[in-house]
Symmetry: C2
Subunit: 418 residues, 2 copies
């Protein structure tokens, strides 16, 4: 993700405080910033540093307010500083967070996830989404005694040597046992499985296809069923990476509507509404393997994030979050669709509406998308031009409509510029 040029007003500038912090950051942080939150991957004018968040709104360090559609790239599903969730976290923090063993929240949360997820008989908790996907791969290998992992070309499953998108610092051996298929392409999946032969440990697959800069795709039922059948035939683990999608499509697991249940699922992001937590859940057949591997972390048993997660799951259930997010997402999608037609612009909105993805047709380098997003930003709406976005329970119809007023202007700008 390198800096991109955008067609925006020459007046689009980051704020004074943001610029000052970037200057300081450049001295003491490699590249001034790293990872998926780098503003250098965003159109001009996007702030790098934030001072405050509340509900679905963010303020940058220069005090500019944004109606936000990224939700910290997923974690914030109930809205920033949700009073019930934060109160639960605070209560636990006041008792004890990082102790010589877990609090009772650990057991309660494992029970809660097992209760929510039909596929799950047990849960284990970590801190990063990458911890969860890595643990799932280890469990699959420990349980099968096999090595090959099938995964979709272009899918993101984390940022350690076996899966990070860049090859810097990665050795060939880190990926020696990965075999790639095309998402939703049964033939390529079967070819990959044949290539694994009798060394197939797992098929690792995202809840839906959400590759950077590509149209999103929900899984085809036939593809999902074939993945399940291939794993059954070989005794391999079907692992769903729910890190990005989890809890927005369904509280029972994203493939539940397809009647396909995974052996293992990897969770993070939204499960504690922004508190650092990840989880692997699994079925009975994989319990022993999960017990056999050795994984741990200094802060994994911290009770505060677990208390936040318990409260998050309650809030999501009480508010029927997936259905609510679906309604808000549909309202946004319908509005954008009508606006684009009105402005004579061709856009493609793909995948589940709860994770909006808006790409312009005929837009190499996403220049139109960048113009669109930068224009919206100037009027206080924070969108992403080539990554899926996220909705939260804090987004109301009024917020969606307010955003649509702004996107209408942004479409005008695109129509005028291209």
């Amino acid at each position: 993700m390198t800096a991109i040029s955008t067609v925006v007003d020459p007046g689009t500038r980051i704020g004074i405080e943001d610029a000052a912090l970037r200057h300081r950051a450049n001295r003491v942080i490699p590249g001034g910033m790293y990872g998926h939150l780098r503003a250098s991957g965003l159109p001009e004018g996007y702030p790098q540093f934030f001072s405050r968040a509340e509900g679905c709104r963010l303020w940058d360090v220069d005090g500019r307010e944004y109606l936000d559609f990224m939700c910290s790239w997923g974690p914030v599903i109930a809205g920033h500083k949700h009073p019930v969730i934060e109160a639960a976290a605070r209560r636990q923090a006041e008792q004890g967070d990082c102790m010589n063993g877990p609090s009772a929240r650990f057991v309660e949360l494992a029970e809660r996830m097992v209760g929510l997820l039909p596929h799950a008989d047990w849960a284990m908790f970590q801190k990063n989404g990458t911890d969860a996907t890595t643990a799932a791969v280890m469990i699959a290998r420990a349980g099968t005694g096999k090595r090959k992992i099938l995964l979709a070309k272009g899918a993101y499953h984390g940022a350690v040597p076996w899966c990070t998108p860049s090859l810097a610092g990665v050795t060939a051996e880190d990926r020696a046992h990965l075999i790639y298929f095309q998402y939703n392409d049964i033939e390529s999946l079967e070819t990959a499985a044949r290539q694994a032969g009798n060394d197939l440990a797992a098929i690792l697959v995202s809840a839906f296809r959400h590759d950077l800069g590509q149209h999103q795709e929900l899984p085809d039922a036939a593809f999902a069923a074939r993945a399940r059948a291939l794993c059954d035939a070989e005794g391999a683990a079907l692992v769903i990476d729910e890190v990005r999608a989890g809890l927005r499509l369904s509280l029972a697991g994203s493939w539940e509507s397809l009647n396909v249940r995974p052996d293992l699922s990897a969770w993070s992001k939204a499960i504690a509404n922004g508190h650092a937590l990840a989880a692997v859940t699994g079925g009975e057949n994989w319990r022993r393997a999960a017990q056999d591997i050795y994984i741990t972390g200094s802060f994994w048993m911290g009770g505060t994030a677990m208390a936040a997660s318990l409260a998050t799951l309650d809030v999501l259930e009480q508010n029927e979050a997936p259905a609510y997010l679906q309604r808000m997402g549909q309202r946004l999608r319908d509005g954008l669709h009508a606006q684009a037609i009105r402005h004579g612009l061709a856009i493609c909105q793909s995948g589940p509406v709860q994770l909006p993805m808006v790409l312009f047709e005929d837009d190499p380098g996403q220049a139109k998308g960048a113009c669109f997003a930068a224009s919206a930003l100037r009027e206080g709406v924070y969108l992403h031009h080539r990554h899926n976005m996220f909705l939260s329970l804090a987004h109301t119809e009024k917020d969606i409509d307010q955003a649509l007023e702004v996107t209408d202007h942004a479409f005008s700008r695109v129509a005028a510029a291209f």
Copy 2:
């Protein structure tokens, strides 16, 4: 770490609530618990679940109070719920934790670490100690274009496939480029370096030797200097794993007193007094490589843990933490030494006093150690029988003396039983 038998009173029992939670945990968590905080690795009677923590004291779920010498296995360096640190964390949480980018705390904390550590020109933050050691290895490989990592046999550097102590779920390729040496053994280090030839990326070495169940060893000055020279000769990175030792021996880096500076250091545990945070720090020569690798995490930019870390570093500096912990540790070591002699028992206390390590001589399976620790536990002092312990700023002379009263009884018990 499997359950061990201990010579203790038959009346040593875990509490009713603890037993009930273990029963529930066994249904929904593989093995009922995982990782380094498993009570199954501890003598009989040790609780698994905790309800409260304050200063250097912990309460289990049955309300039993313990004077604690594990500090959550390192993270708690200023004492649980330190008012200044928790106030700083709360202030940041009330503004915003996990946002679309970092808060100003990110830059301030990087500046703070660069200011503290003579070797460091930059810092990057993560969540787990394993994130930091893994990132350091990636940076070393990216910077050198080479692959081999030299590390000490038996050393713990984290819990993912390339380094976890168990081989379950690990493939041979995960460790294809590791070469082992003996800590403090220059000849074995040189042999390992020769084996790496011109493919040497890094020497990864703990701040001191702290292997489970083994006597601790501070690094010899000659060994440290040789590690530095070998890296210089090959253009490789000298990486110090400060995850466990960091900030307890020195606020300037644990090898500073040896006049040996690393290229990269990995930090976690104590840097935010129990809030989930890790860091890699490095010198100018490695900035470009650090910028080239792609690492990230959903919660890495969370401001709350960074605010806690800034406050922690202030508290440690204001209280001259290493010297204070050194005084308390020496008081404990001297007291235990005198008591052991009085009881006619041979113990060995090794390594830095800030991380107390007490092993009985002639104690295969650490049965005496387990008897000692279980006896102390019954009188409310939480020790470890085969892992190093940790002191915090919350441990006062009075606490040390109170613990010594209890250890005196525990030594009697060992003397009587063996």
